[in-house]
């Protein structure tokens, strides 16, 4: 790799990433040399601007053909661009949430929060673009390590510390499991580039080792499913969500989860697409029943777990586990629609869940409690806030005319489309959706049917208000006109492009 | 003969030959330690305008250290009741073995070298790090507040100075393009790396003194504060092994300095007729003398100065050295 080759790379491919990296670096330096007593608030605007610029770059890249640089380890295809939009959007909204997170509690490490947040976002973006196991792993860990610290950023709070530690331990185990799986894939193919791996996996010589391959598949899948908090790696979610500050919780449940799905898609679907399992059946077909069990288990655990929660953050943790279960469903059907369905659902999930967290933040901040009773009588206190929260909850529950419904509808289509349709899985999903009505509507019930102890109107800072309005409009908008997003994805996304090896031409 | 042996199928015969040779080296090293201690005391004596040892073994006190060793050998050995017995016994061994092991890769002359490892420098850095654990273990196992504190301080100091130490040699590796110590010496045929990488040398020298726990960096064993630090509970020959490894390290570190920066056995220009072994010995002796000299001249640092010096001055310098070395390589070589 000589200088000329490196200079000949089209570095603009990584413009969004460089933007985020640059801003993060800049922020950390400014933060270090700022006097201790100066407000860190202005840094937020810088961070927001960084995310916005990165987003602008992604949009500017939309027309670009698929390109890859750095010996095909970094890849810019529509898949990565589309998911980067979701990630950046989620990141932007979460940053806005953070703008107003209890000032006194985050004051000490507010500067750190901003740039760790950006590095986490950067990790997620790298995951979206990577086409090599090493890059993928580095992105994953960049995201993970940053989020471990973010979860524990309230240094003085024991809960925050505990959640960070639990997150780290389960994350570490998951990483190790993933890597163990990856090491076997490398062992079988001798390649780390995903496209080379795909090619090598088609060799007949590998058929003898199909058992190892299946083993590797499961290790990797299970390890990666940690990020999305799917069974069996969901245990961390409630504790971490409870202990972490709300913006971080929102980040974990939205951006981090999206990144997890991106990596699952990129890795699992791409790598194993042509691999043969035991007895030479296609591997992805062979593992279908297990994926089905995983998806169903995730939904069931999430929804049943949420039923008995009094703590709203834990409730939303379980709810996000359940949502992850829904998004796993398209993996089972394993058709080309997977990408669009998941992308759309995640987009919907970003707006509705962040909206819900924005409401949650307003409430917990006012009540200084996480108990579900903080919702009592919200409608009589702040009708608009309650209405917005209702929209988000209805969307999470999958009621028509909301983004959540449009997403779920798509997932149903995906599950029932192939022949034979996955009726059991769809039925489970439907049943669990019903179970989710209980806890979502319980909150709605508290807001509308009960009287709260306080009659005071809730103060709503402008940044939170902006998030709420945007999310509410987007939730309804995507619900009524899902084609806005669907067409955007469909028109630009090309499955062949996703599977196309750009070769070693730079 | 050696060459044939090295290229033959390894077996018990090889092992036996190697063992014999290593034992010879061990004896040499022990001899060095014995007289290095004497030399140190003598030099310190001269510096402080006093005679130094002058009773045992003639006017020069030539047998003083030998007598000391025998004294230690016949001293009663106590292990405190509260100590962690297995660890207490293990600690001196764990400190000493790496000190001796690192000598395996040291090229003393073109021909006198034991193991010619491709990653010799890395081997040195890696193995020498183990000693820290031994010292920490000794401090911990004694179950004594002084020793624990001393052990912790020693460990903190050693790991802190290990960073600038290992980074300062990156310059040397850059020039030589190899981690093999032989190649590094070969690379200095024309010019010793001390001239190409003076900052590296400076950092390396200071860090190595600190690594050796010698004055002015001898806080871990500060007699006046910690009544001898991590080995306060050690007596007799167990104590001797801590001392021994300290001086074996002195031997090793001086050799390494010679190899890395002073050109090893390479002669100065126009003086090629003098054998490499002599050159090595001379350079080696200068380094050792320098270290004793420093000990006699400089006062002990404060704990806070000590740590901050490593991180705030040496480490940035070492990092800087990487790039100055690279620049030198690009511009002049």
């Amino acid at each position: 790799m000589d200088t000329d080759a490196l200079l000949s790379y089209n570095w603009s491919v990584m413009a969004p990433e460089f933007t985020i990296l640059g801003v993060a670096t800049l922020l950390s330096i400014i933060d270090l040399f700022m006097s201790k007593h100066t407000s860190r608030r202005p840094l937020l605007w810088l961070a927001l601007a960084g995310v916005a610029v990165a987003m602008a770059f992604v949009f500017m890249q939309l027309d670009q053909d698929v390109t890859s640089i750095l010996h095909d380890t970094y890849r810019l295809d529509f898949f990565s661009k589309a998911f980067k939009i979701v990630l950046l959007l989620g990141g932007f909204l979460v940053l806005l949430l953070a703008a107003d997170y209890r000032k006194e509690e985050l004051s000490e490490s507010r500067g750190e929060f901003y740039y760790l947040f950006l590095t986490a976002l950067l990790g997620a973006m790298i995951m979206a673009s990577s086409a090599d196991m090493i890059t993928l792993f580095v992105g994953l860990e960049l995201l993970s390590l940053s989020s471990y610290i973010l979860a524990g950023i309230r240094k003085k709070s024991r809960k925050s510390n505990e959640s960070a530690f639990k997150y780290l331990v389960s994350g570490g185990i998951a990483t190790a499991i993933t890597l163990f799986g990856l090491s076997y894939i490398f062992g079988l193919t001798g390649k780390t580039n995903l496209f080379d791996v795909v090619e090598t996996l088609q060799e007949p010589a590998l058929l003898e080792h199909s058992f190892l391959l299946v083993f590797a598949f499961f290790m990797t899948f299970i390890g990666l499913s940690f990020k999305i908090a799917a069974a069996p790696f969901h245990m961390w979610a409630p504790d971490v969500y409870e202990g972490a500050p709300i913006p971080v919780t929102a980040f974990l449940s939205v951006v981090s989860k999206t990144a997890g799905f991106v990596i699952l898609l990129r890795f699992i679907v791409l790598t194993f697409i042509a691999a043969a399992g035991i007895d030479r059946d296609p591997l992805l077909v062979q593992v279908q029943p297990y994926l089905m069990v995983l998806a169903a288990a995730t939904m069931i655990i999430g929804n049943l777990g949420a039923l008995r929660q009094r703590n709203v953050k834990r409730l939303f943790a379980y709810s996000s586990v359940a949502q992850a279960g829904y998004v796993l469903v398209p993996f089972v059907s394993n058709s080309t629609q997977v990408f669009e369905l998941i992308w759309f659902y995640l987009l919907a999930y970003v707006v509705m869940n962040i909206g819900a967290f924005a409401c949650l933040q307003t409430l917990t901040r006012d009540a200084r409690s996480n108990d579900i009773s903080i919702f009592r009588g919200l409608f009589s206190r702040s009708p608009w806030l309650a209405s917005a929260m209702t929209i988000f909850l209805l969307s999470l529950a999958g009621i028509p005319a909301t983004a959540g419904f449009a997403g779920k509808f798509g997932i149903f289509m995906g599950a029932l489309g192939p022949e034979p349709g996955h009726y059991v899985l769809a039925g489970t999903m439907m049943l669990m959706t019903l179970v989710s009505y209980v806890y979502y509507f319980n909150i709605i019930g508290l807001m509308f049917f009960r009287d709260g102890s306080s009659k005071r109107r809730l103060p709503l800072p402008p940044s939170l208000g902006a998030v709420l309005v945007f999310c509410a409009i987007a939730t309804i908008g995507l619900g009524i006109l899902p084609n806005i997003a669907l067409d955007f994805f469909f028109e630009s996304f090309d499955v062949n492009e996703f599977f196309m090896n750009t070769g070693h031409n730079h | 003969m050696m060459n044939d042996l090295l290229h033959s199928q390894p077996g018990w015969y090889n092992a036996a030959v190697f063992f014999t040779m290593a034992a010879v080296l061990l004896l040499v090293v022990l001899g060095f330690v014995t007289y290095a201690i004497l030399a140190e005391r003598k030099v310190l004596g001269f510096i402080q305008l006093r005679p130094g040892p002058n009773r045992v073994g003639g006017k020069l006190g030539l047998l003083q250290t030998v007598a000391d060793v025998f004294k230690l050998l016949i001293k009663e050995d106590t292990i405190p009741k509260l100590a962690d017995r297995p660890l207490f016994i293990l600690a001196p061994v764990l400190t000493f073995s790496p000190a001796f092991m690192v000598l395996a890769v040291m090229p003393f002359t073109e021909h006198v070298q034991f193991a010619d490892l491709g990653v010799g420098l890395l081997y040195y850095v890696g193995i020498s790090g183990i000693s820290t654990i031994g010292i920490l273990l000794g401090g911990w196992a004694s179950n004594n507040k002084y020793s624990l504190l001393g052990g912790m301080r020693a460990a903190a100091q050693m790991i802190s100075y290990e960073i600038p130490l290992v980074i300062s040699v990156v310059g040397v590796i850059l020039f030589a393009g190899s981690l093999n110590l032989n190649d590094i010496v070969e690379g200095q045929k024309n010019v010793a790396y001390i001239f190409l990488s003076p900052i590296g040398f400076f950092v390396f020298l200071i860090a190595s003194i600190a690594e050796l726990n010698r004055t002015p960096f001898d806080l871990p064993e500060a007699e006046s504060e910690l009544v001898a630090g991590y080995h306060v509970e050690y007596s007799g020959f167990r104590f001797a092994f801590f001392m021994l490894s300290e001086y074996v390290y002195l031997f090793a570190m001086a050799s390494l300095t010679t190899v890395l920066f002073l050109g090893g056995w390479n002669p100065l220009p126009f003086l090629e007729f003098i054998p490499g072994a002599i050159w090595f010995a001379v350079k080696f002796s200068i380094v050792v003398f320098f270290m004793i000299w420093i000990r006699g001249t400089l006062p002990r640092l404060r704990a806070d100065q000590l740590m901050e010096f490593a991180w705030k001055i040496l480490l940035p310098l070492a990092l800087l050295n990487i790039f100055t070395s690279a620049a030198v390589k690009e511009l002049f070589l």
């Binding site: 610290i149 530690f165 570490g172 490398f186 580039n193 | -």
Partner: protein
Amino acid sequence: MSNVPLSLYLMLALILFCIGLYGALTKKNAVIVLISIELMLNAVNINLVAFSKYSLHPGLSGQIFTLFTIAVAAAEAAVGLAILISLYRNRPTVRVDEMDTMKH
């Protein structure tokens, strides 16, 4: 070149991995848990390095991967210890089973 078969390396790695996993899941001491995770990661390293030399398709990239794993493992350990210290400041314990503020 070697008479050590690949399967032995893999076995070693597998055993190491299982020990690590067992330790990480059952041990009460937080530091031991962190070390167990390191064990698992090192098992991966053994795998990668062994594969990069002896597999069907030997390739250097396995060793490069290992370098990354080592670095990341170090970072993870550093973050883990930092969090543990911060936790310890709030409550002097390193026992995992005493981290129970969030039991429900």
